[in-house]
Symmetry: C2
Protein backbone atom coordinates (compact mmCIF):
# COMPACT_ATOMS: atom_id res chain seq x y z
CA UNK A 1 0.00 0.00 0.00
CA UNK A 2 1.29 3.41 -0.82
CA UNK A 3 -1.35 6.04 -1.40
CA UNK A 4 -4.99 5.94 -0.43
CA UNK A 5 -7.98 7.54 -2.18
CA UNK A 6 -8.92 10.93 -0.75
CA UNK A 7 -12.56 10.98 -1.77
CA UNK A 8 -15.52 9.42 -0.01
CA UNK A 9 -17.00 7.08 -2.58
CA UNK A 10 -20.55 7.16 -1.19
CA UNK A 11 -20.60 10.93 -1.10
CA UNK A 12 -19.26 11.12 -4.66
CA UNK A 13 -21.91 8.71 -5.91
CA UNK A 14 -24.63 10.66 -4.14
CA UNK A 15 -23.53 13.98 -5.67
CA UNK A 16 -23.45 12.35 -9.09
CA UNK A 17 -26.89 10.86 -8.45
CA UNK A 18 -28.37 14.26 -7.63
CA UNK A 19 -26.93 15.75 -10.81
CA UNK A 20 -28.03 12.84 -13.01
CA UNK A 21 -31.48 12.95 -11.44
CA UNK A 22 -31.73 16.64 -12.21
CA UNK A 23 -30.44 16.65 -15.78
CA UNK A 24 -30.70 13.08 -17.03
CA UNK A 25 -28.00 10.86 -18.46
CA UNK A 26 -27.45 12.47 -21.83
CA UNK A 27 -27.67 16.08 -20.70
CA UNK A 28 -25.15 15.55 -17.91
CA UNK A 29 -21.68 15.90 -19.39
CA UNK A 30 -18.61 14.35 -17.85
CA UNK A 31 -17.36 17.89 -17.24
CA UNK A 32 -20.51 18.68 -15.26
CA UNK A 33 -19.81 15.58 -13.20
CA UNK A 34 -16.17 16.52 -12.67
CA UNK A 35 -17.27 19.82 -11.20
CA UNK A 36 -20.07 18.33 -9.09
CA UNK A 37 -17.90 15.69 -7.44
CA UNK A 38 -14.66 17.73 -7.55
CA UNK A 39 -12.60 15.06 -9.22
CA UNK A 40 -10.52 15.03 -12.37
CA UNK A 41 -11.48 12.77 -15.29
CA UNK A 42 -8.66 10.30 -14.64
CA UNK A 43 -9.80 9.69 -11.06
CA UNK A 44 -13.43 9.30 -12.05
CA UNK A 45 -12.62 6.81 -14.76
CA UNK A 46 -10.25 4.90 -12.44
CA UNK A 47 -13.03 4.64 -9.87
CA UNK A 48 -16.10 4.01 -12.04
CA UNK A 49 -14.87 2.90 -15.46
CA UNK A 50 -17.21 5.06 -17.50
CA UNK A 51 -20.00 7.59 -17.35
CA UNK A 52 -22.37 4.65 -17.60
CA UNK A 53 -20.66 2.91 -14.67
CA UNK A 54 -21.10 5.97 -12.49
CA UNK A 55 -24.73 6.27 -13.58
CA UNK A 56 -25.31 2.67 -12.61
CA UNK A 57 -24.05 3.36 -9.09
CA UNK A 58 -26.17 6.50 -8.99
CA UNK A 59 -29.25 4.43 -9.80
CA UNK A 60 -28.45 2.05 -6.95
CA UNK A 61 -27.99 5.00 -4.61
CA UNK A 62 -31.32 6.51 -5.67
CA UNK A 63 -33.21 3.26 -5.17
CA UNK A 64 -31.62 2.63 -1.80
CA UNK A 65 -32.59 6.08 -0.53
CA UNK A 66 -36.15 5.62 -1.77
CA UNK A 67 -36.32 2.21 -0.14
CA UNK A 68 -35.13 3.66 3.16
CA UNK A 69 -37.75 6.40 3.06
CA UNK A 70 -40.43 3.80 2.38
CA UNK A 71 -39.31 1.60 5.25
CA UNK A 72 -39.14 4.56 7.60
CA UNK A 73 -42.61 5.86 6.74
CA UNK A 74 -44.17 2.44 7.09
CA UNK A 75 -42.53 1.80 10.45
CA UNK A 76 -43.64 5.21 11.75
CA UNK A 77 -47.24 4.91 10.59
CA UNK A 78 -50.23 3.47 12.45
CA UNK A 79 -50.84 0.94 9.71
CA UNK A 80 -49.23 -0.38 6.50
CA UNK A 81 -51.69 1.40 4.24
CA UNK A 82 -51.18 4.72 6.02
CA UNK A 83 -47.43 4.18 5.80
CA UNK A 84 -47.67 3.66 2.05
CA UNK A 85 -49.84 6.72 1.65
CA UNK A 86 -47.44 8.82 3.72
CA UNK A 87 -44.50 7.57 1.70
CA UNK A 88 -46.07 8.56 -1.59
CA UNK A 89 -47.15 11.93 -0.19
CA UNK A 90 -43.68 12.54 1.18
CA UNK A 91 -41.86 11.66 -2.03
CA UNK A 92 -44.15 13.49 -4.42
CA UNK A 93 -45.36 16.52 -2.48
CA UNK A 94 -43.46 17.18 0.75
CA UNK A 95 -39.97 16.64 -0.61
CA UNK A 96 -40.82 18.47 -3.79
CA UNK A 97 -38.60 21.47 -3.12
CA UNK A 98 -35.58 19.66 -1.69
CA UNK A 99 -35.18 17.23 -4.54
CA UNK A 100 -33.67 17.72 -8.02
CA UNK A 101 -36.74 16.69 -10.02
CA UNK A 102 -40.40 15.90 -9.63
CA UNK A 103 -39.91 12.81 -11.75
CA UNK A 104 -38.82 9.37 -10.64
CA UNK A 105 -35.19 8.89 -11.65
CA UNK A 106 -35.92 5.34 -12.77
CA UNK A 107 -38.71 6.53 -15.06
CA UNK A 108 -36.43 9.22 -16.40
CA UNK A 109 -33.82 6.60 -17.15
CA UNK A 110 -36.42 4.44 -18.88
CA UNK A 111 -37.26 7.45 -21.04
CA UNK A 112 -33.84 8.21 -22.39
CA UNK A 113 -31.94 4.93 -22.38
CA UNK A 114 -32.25 2.66 -25.40
CA UNK A 115 -30.91 -0.72 -26.46
CA UNK A 116 -27.42 0.68 -26.94
CA UNK A 117 -27.13 0.53 -23.15
CA UNK A 118 -28.77 -2.82 -22.34
CA UNK A 119 -27.21 -3.11 -18.89
CA UNK A 120 -28.57 0.21 -17.65
CA UNK A 121 -31.93 -0.72 -19.13
CA UNK A 122 -32.16 -4.08 -17.41
CA UNK A 123 -30.87 -2.63 -14.14
CA UNK A 124 -33.59 0.02 -14.27
CA UNK A 125 -36.29 -2.56 -14.98
CA UNK A 126 -35.06 -4.68 -12.09
CA UNK A 127 -35.11 -1.73 -9.69
CA UNK A 128 -38.64 -0.78 -10.77
CA UNK A 129 -39.75 -4.35 -10.27
CA UNK A 130 -38.35 -4.21 -6.74
CA UNK A 131 -40.51 -1.17 -6.01
CA UNK A 132 -43.56 -3.13 -7.10
CA UNK A 133 -42.45 -6.03 -4.91
CA UNK A 134 -42.01 -3.72 -1.92
CA UNK A 135 -45.46 -2.23 -2.44
CA UNK A 136 -46.97 -5.70 -2.74
CA UNK A 137 -45.22 -6.90 0.41
CA UNK A 138 -46.60 -3.97 2.41
CA UNK A 139 -50.06 -4.57 0.99
CA UNK A 140 -49.75 -8.19 2.13
CA UNK A 141 -49.10 -6.90 5.63
CA UNK A 142 -52.13 -4.63 5.36
CA UNK A 143 -54.18 -7.65 4.37
CA UNK A 144 -52.91 -9.72 7.30
CA UNK A 145 -53.91 -6.91 9.65
CA UNK A 146 -57.41 -6.74 8.19
CA UNK A 147 -56.80 -3.35 6.54
CA UNK A 148 -57.54 -4.97 3.17
CA UNK A 149 -60.25 -7.48 2.34
CA UNK A 150 -59.02 -11.09 2.40
CA UNK A 151 -59.85 -11.49 -1.28
CA UNK A 152 -57.93 -8.44 -2.46
CA UNK A 153 -55.27 -9.05 -5.10
CA UNK A 154 -52.23 -7.44 -3.52
CA UNK A 155 -49.97 -8.01 -6.52
CA UNK A 156 -52.34 -6.12 -8.80
CA UNK A 157 -52.92 -3.46 -6.19
CA UNK A 158 -49.16 -2.99 -5.89
CA UNK A 159 -48.87 -2.57 -9.63
CA UNK A 160 -51.73 -0.14 -9.55
CA UNK A 161 -50.07 1.94 -6.85
CA UNK A 162 -46.80 2.04 -8.75
CA UNK A 163 -48.58 3.06 -11.93
CA UNK A 164 -50.36 5.85 -10.12
CA UNK A 165 -47.25 7.05 -8.33
CA UNK A 166 -45.37 7.25 -11.61
CA UNK A 167 -48.29 9.06 -13.21
CA UNK A 168 -48.75 11.52 -10.37
CA UNK A 169 -45.08 12.49 -10.34
CA UNK A 170 -45.20 13.15 -14.05
CA UNK A 171 -48.47 15.00 -13.68
CA UNK A 172 -47.01 17.23 -10.97
CA UNK A 173 -44.06 18.15 -13.15
CA UNK A 174 -46.45 19.11 -15.96
CA UNK A 175 -49.14 20.84 -13.93
CA UNK A 176 -47.16 22.31 -11.02
CA UNK A 177 -50.34 21.73 -9.05
CA UNK A 178 -49.54 19.91 -5.79
CA UNK A 179 -53.07 20.40 -4.48
CA UNK A 180 -54.53 18.43 -7.37
CA UNK A 181 -52.04 15.66 -6.66
CA UNK A 182 -52.98 15.65 -2.97
CA UNK A 183 -56.62 15.24 -3.96
CA UNK A 184 -55.75 12.41 -6.31
CA UNK A 185 -53.72 10.70 -3.61
CA UNK A 186 -56.55 10.89 -1.09
CA UNK A 187 -59.03 9.61 -3.61
CA UNK A 188 -56.76 6.68 -4.50
CA UNK A 189 -56.37 5.56 -0.91
CA UNK A 190 -60.03 6.17 -0.11
CA UNK A 191 -60.81 3.79 -2.96
CA UNK A 192 -58.38 1.17 -1.70
CA UNK A 193 -59.73 1.28 1.86
CA UNK A 194 -63.35 1.15 0.69
CA UNK A 195 -63.06 -2.32 -0.82
Amino acid sequence: MANVAKYDRDSVVRKAMLLFWEKGFNATSTRDLQQAVDMRPGSIYAAFGSKEGLYSEALKCYSQEMGEILQQRVSEADSPLTGLENFIRNVIIERRNVVPSELCMLVRTLSEIDDTQPELMSQTKTLLRKVEDNFTRILDQAQEQGELAPGANTRMLGRHLQVQMIGMRTYLKASQNPQAVEELLQSIFAGIRAR
Copy 2:
Protein backbone atom coordinates in the same frame (compact mmCIF):
# COMPACT_ATOMS: atom_id res chain seq x y z
CA MET B 1 -42.27 32.84 -57.92
CA ALA B 2 -39.32 30.95 -59.25
CA ASN B 3 -38.66 27.63 -57.62
CA VAL B 4 -41.02 25.66 -55.46
CA ALA B 5 -40.21 23.32 -52.57
CA LYS B 6 -40.06 19.66 -53.58
CA TYR B 7 -40.82 18.13 -50.19
CA ASP B 8 -44.19 17.59 -48.56
CA ARG B 9 -43.99 19.46 -45.27
CA ASP B 10 -46.53 17.33 -43.42
CA SER B 11 -44.83 14.12 -44.43
CA VAL B 12 -41.43 15.50 -43.40
CA VAL B 13 -42.76 16.54 -40.00
CA ARG B 14 -44.35 13.14 -39.49
CA LYS B 15 -41.14 11.29 -40.30
CA ALA B 16 -39.25 13.53 -37.91
CA MET B 17 -41.93 12.98 -35.27
CA LEU B 18 -41.58 9.20 -35.50
CA LEU B 19 -37.80 9.43 -35.13
CA PHE B 20 -37.97 11.89 -32.23
CA TRP B 21 -40.60 9.75 -30.55
CA GLU B 22 -38.36 6.71 -30.86
CA LYS B 23 -35.06 8.23 -29.76
CA GLY B 24 -35.90 11.42 -27.87
CA PHE B 25 -34.72 14.95 -28.54
CA ASN B 26 -31.11 14.71 -27.39
CA ALA B 27 -30.35 11.29 -28.81
CA THR B 28 -31.68 12.24 -32.25
CA SER B 29 -28.89 13.96 -34.15
CA THR B 30 -29.50 16.36 -36.99
CA ARG B 31 -27.75 13.83 -39.23
CA ASP B 32 -30.26 11.15 -38.19
CA LEU B 33 -32.98 13.60 -39.12
CA GLN B 34 -31.40 14.43 -42.46
CA GLN B 35 -31.44 10.76 -43.36
CA ALA B 36 -34.99 10.16 -42.06
CA VAL B 37 -36.56 13.01 -44.00
CA ASP B 38 -34.11 12.87 -46.95
CA MET B 39 -33.22 16.53 -46.84
CA ARG B 40 -29.90 18.34 -46.57
CA PRO B 41 -29.16 20.52 -43.52
CA GLY B 42 -29.61 23.79 -45.37
CA SER B 43 -33.12 22.88 -46.47
CA ILE B 44 -34.12 21.69 -43.02
CA TYR B 45 -32.86 24.88 -41.41
CA ALA B 46 -34.54 27.01 -44.05
CA ALA B 47 -37.84 25.26 -43.38
CA PHE B 48 -37.78 24.85 -39.59
CA GLY B 49 -35.13 27.21 -38.24
CA SER B 50 -33.55 24.79 -35.83
CA LYS B 51 -33.67 21.28 -34.45
CA GLU B 52 -35.90 22.66 -31.72
CA GLY B 53 -38.24 24.21 -34.29
CA LEU B 54 -38.65 20.88 -36.04
CA TYR B 55 -39.23 19.16 -32.70
CA SER B 56 -41.94 21.65 -31.89
CA GLU B 57 -43.77 20.79 -35.10
CA ALA B 58 -43.27 17.10 -34.36
CA LEU B 59 -44.97 17.56 -30.99
CA LYS B 60 -47.94 19.22 -32.66
CA CYS B 61 -48.13 16.37 -35.17
CA TYR B 62 -48.03 13.77 -32.39
CA SER B 63 -50.77 15.46 -30.39
CA GLN B 64 -52.97 15.90 -33.42
CA GLU B 65 -52.72 12.21 -34.33
CA MET B 66 -53.52 11.20 -30.76
CA GLY B 67 -56.49 13.55 -30.71
CA GLU B 68 -57.80 12.06 -33.93
CA ILE B 69 -57.53 8.53 -32.57
CA LEU B 70 -59.42 9.59 -29.45
CA GLN B 71 -62.18 11.25 -31.42
CA GLN B 72 -62.49 8.24 -33.71
CA ARG B 73 -62.69 5.72 -30.89
CA VAL B 74 -65.27 7.74 -29.00
CA SER B 75 -67.46 8.20 -32.07
CA GLU B 76 -67.30 4.47 -32.87
CA ALA B 77 -68.10 3.28 -29.36
CA ASP B 78 -71.49 2.60 -27.80
CA SER B 79 -70.86 5.12 -25.04
CA PRO B 80 -68.34 7.83 -24.05
CA LEU B 81 -66.80 5.71 -21.30
CA THR B 82 -66.37 2.73 -23.59
CA GLY B 83 -64.86 5.03 -26.19
CA LEU B 84 -62.33 6.32 -23.67
CA GLU B 85 -61.49 2.81 -22.57
CA ASN B 86 -61.03 1.66 -26.17
CA PHE B 87 -58.83 4.66 -26.91
CA ILE B 88 -56.51 3.90 -24.03
CA ARG B 89 -56.42 0.19 -24.90
CA ASN B 90 -55.70 1.00 -28.50
CA VAL B 91 -52.88 3.45 -27.78
CA ILE B 92 -51.16 1.40 -25.09
CA ILE B 93 -51.72 -2.20 -26.10
CA GLU B 94 -53.06 -2.66 -29.62
CA ARG B 95 -50.77 -0.19 -31.36
CA ARG B 96 -47.83 -1.34 -29.30
CA ASN B 97 -45.97 -2.95 -32.18
CA VAL B 98 -46.64 -0.36 -34.86
CA VAL B 99 -45.44 2.61 -32.86
CA PRO B 100 -41.89 3.82 -32.10
CA SER B 101 -42.16 3.71 -28.31
CA GLU B 102 -44.42 2.52 -25.52
CA LEU B 103 -44.05 5.91 -23.86
CA CYS B 104 -46.08 9.03 -24.47
CA MET B 105 -43.98 11.43 -26.53
CA LEU B 106 -45.14 14.35 -24.39
CA VAL B 107 -44.01 12.59 -21.21
CA ARG B 108 -40.72 11.76 -22.86
CA THR B 109 -40.27 15.41 -23.73
CA LEU B 110 -41.10 16.41 -20.17
CA SER B 111 -38.35 14.03 -19.04
CA GLU B 112 -35.50 15.38 -21.05
CA ILE B 113 -36.25 19.03 -21.65
CA ASP B 114 -35.16 21.56 -19.04
CA ASP B 115 -35.39 25.31 -18.58
CA THR B 116 -32.84 25.94 -21.31
CA GLN B 117 -35.69 25.24 -23.74
CA PRO B 118 -38.61 27.04 -22.09
CA GLU B 119 -40.72 27.17 -25.23
CA LEU B 120 -40.67 23.42 -25.80
CA MET B 121 -41.43 22.96 -22.11
CA SER B 122 -44.46 25.23 -22.08
CA GLN B 123 -45.71 23.81 -25.36
CA THR B 124 -45.52 20.31 -23.90
CA LYS B 125 -47.37 21.36 -20.76
CA THR B 126 -50.07 22.99 -22.84
CA LEU B 127 -50.53 19.89 -24.98
CA LEU B 128 -50.76 17.66 -21.89
CA ARG B 129 -53.33 20.00 -20.42
CA LYS B 130 -55.36 19.66 -23.60
CA VAL B 131 -55.39 15.88 -23.16
CA GLU B 132 -56.81 16.34 -19.67
CA ASP B 133 -59.39 18.74 -21.07
CA ASN B 134 -60.40 16.25 -23.76
CA PHE B 135 -60.77 13.47 -21.21
CA THR B 136 -62.86 15.75 -18.98
CA ARG B 137 -65.09 16.76 -21.86
CA ILE B 138 -65.81 13.15 -22.73
CA LEU B 139 -66.50 12.34 -19.08
CA ASP B 140 -68.98 15.23 -19.06
CA GLN B 141 -70.77 13.58 -21.96
CA ALA B 142 -70.76 10.29 -20.05
CA GLN B 143 -72.34 12.10 -17.13
CA GLU B 144 -75.01 13.68 -19.30
CA GLN B 145 -75.92 10.25 -20.64
CA GLY B 146 -76.20 8.80 -17.15
CA GLU B 147 -73.05 6.66 -17.50
CA LEU B 148 -71.58 8.52 -14.54
CA ALA B 149 -73.29 9.55 -11.32
CA PRO B 150 -74.56 13.15 -11.37
CA GLY B 151 -72.28 14.05 -8.47
CA ALA B 152 -69.09 12.71 -10.04
CA ASN B 153 -66.21 15.16 -10.36
CA THR B 154 -65.36 14.85 -14.04
CA ARG B 155 -62.35 17.18 -13.83
CA MET B 156 -60.72 15.06 -11.17
CA LEU B 157 -61.69 11.88 -12.96
CA GLY B 158 -60.09 13.21 -16.13
CA ARG B 159 -56.89 13.96 -14.25
CA HIS B 160 -57.04 10.52 -12.74
CA LEU B 161 -57.37 8.89 -16.14
CA GLN B 162 -54.46 10.86 -17.56
CA VAL B 163 -52.31 9.96 -14.58
CA GLN B 164 -53.12 6.30 -15.01
CA MET B 165 -52.60 6.34 -18.75
CA ILE B 166 -49.16 7.90 -18.30
CA GLY B 167 -48.34 5.39 -15.59
CA MET B 168 -49.53 2.38 -17.55
CA ARG B 169 -47.51 3.32 -20.63
CA THR B 170 -44.40 3.66 -18.51
CA TYR B 171 -45.20 0.42 -16.71
CA LEU B 172 -45.59 -1.42 -20.00
CA LYS B 173 -42.20 -0.25 -21.19
CA ALA B 174 -40.62 -1.46 -17.97
CA SER B 175 -42.51 -4.73 -17.55
CA GLN B 176 -43.18 -5.75 -21.16
CA ASN B 177 -46.34 -7.29 -19.72
CA PRO B 178 -49.35 -6.20 -21.79
CA GLN B 179 -51.63 -8.64 -20.00
CA ALA B 180 -50.98 -6.95 -16.66
CA VAL B 181 -51.79 -3.61 -18.29
CA GLU B 182 -55.02 -5.02 -19.72
CA GLU B 183 -56.04 -6.17 -16.25
CA LEU B 184 -55.21 -2.76 -14.81
CA LEU B 185 -57.23 -1.06 -17.52
CA GLN B 186 -60.28 -3.22 -16.89
CA SER B 187 -60.01 -2.68 -13.16
CA ILE B 188 -59.76 1.09 -13.63
CA PHE B 189 -62.89 1.30 -15.76
CA ALA B 190 -64.78 -1.16 -13.58
CA GLY B 191 -64.07 1.19 -10.68
CA ILE B 192 -65.27 4.22 -12.61
CA ARG B 193 -68.51 2.59 -13.70
CA ALA B 194 -69.22 1.26 -10.20
CA ARG B 195 -69.59 4.66 -8.60
